[in-house]
Amino acid sequence: MAHVVPANQKWWAGGRSPFNVEYGKLMMWYFLMSDAFTFGAFLISYGTIRFSSNAWPDPNKVFSSFPFMGHANLPLVFVSLMTFILIMSSVTMVLAVASGHNNDRKGVVKWMFWTIIGGLAFLGCQAWEWTHLYHQNAWWGRNPFTNYDGTMASTNFTNFFFTITGFHGFHVFSGVVINVIMFIMAWRGDFDRKGHYLMIEKAGLYWHFVDLVWVFVFTCFYLF
């Protein structure tokens, strides 16, 4: 149900938020802006180094494994599964926020539960991927892969890959922790006592941001 604000509303006249959102939500947006610039700095430095290199490893060759599939060549299939998991958990998060809007405690608890499962599944996939690359001798400071044209690759590729996906994975992890706290608070009925579910919205903004960053990480590391 949309509500309509008259055009002559004086947003900047004082006495109310000129952004029409509560303080905590606005601050979450500003925090996410600063976090976006942190991730931006990481990804842009990766781009700068890549633009200054004559050649770079081919993601289709590096990321071509899938659990329990042995040596089958399945380029990008596993990472697309990870992307699907994260998009799906973003959807369950919006559904939790939507339930919160209707003060539907059961709905919030149910959808928060699935969001947490999605987050844990993503972390599990990333742990598998890292372990697999580690066993292929890829780690910070070591790069077993050659460039797409067969020339020797520097360790820039693995350094950036592990640093940036690691930083993103850390965000997913802290997002799961936040979601677990929200789940427990919703389950205990804390938000019913408060009378609103705005905390779920703030946790939701953070979780969607994690999904948003993954969209860029996915493009920069697996497609380019």
Binding site: V5, T48, N54, H71, S80, N137
Partner: protein
């Protein structure tokens, strides 16, 4: 500007804004569809073209990525349904990224040209293929460990 600003974000007192569940699922299908198209291009179409065509695929990926980012921010993070002041306080600082990306990628490309022009040894080293096969799986790892 329109006469009224419509917002679904109603936190004040009794007014209860509700999210449109249909719109959520529509956004989900759009995101999934774009990701699938990206993967089909990345896995099956792009490898069939010579490597110097890669730039065109990259431009395509950037367009798809921007579309996905728009849908996540506008619908999932609900920014499209906030008032204009709120949208602008996020969108205007984000414009810095345009300069940020352009300036630094330009810098990287320039550094590559300088190295290739003034350091012939670097150019030769970085453009001569190595004999060793790339290590794709655990089988090759032993070999590459020995070589290192």
């Amino acid at each position: 500007m329109e006469n009224v600003e419509v917002t679904t974000n109603a936190h004040h007192g009794e007014e209860k804004g509700s999210f449109d569940t249909k719109a959520i699922w529509r956004t989900f299908w759009i995101l999934l569809g774009i990701t699938c198209i990206e993967l089909v291009i990345g896995m099956f179409i792009a490898p069939r073209f010579p490597h110097d065509m890669k730039i065109w695929f990259n431009i395509l990926y950037i367009i798809f990525t921007a579309a996905k980012a728009f849908y996540i921010i506008a619908e999932f993070m609900h920014l499209r349904h906030e008032i204009k002041n709120m949208i602008m306080t996020i969108a205007v600082p984000a414009m810095l990224f345009l300069w940020f990306i352009g300036a630094f990628l330009w810098e990287g490309a320039s550094f590559k040209n300088l190295k290739n022009t003034y350091d012939p040894a670097y150019k030769e080293r970085s453009t001569t293929p190595v004999k060793q096969q790339p290590a794709h799986d655990e089988h090759d790892t032993q070999k590459s460990r020995e070589l290192h």
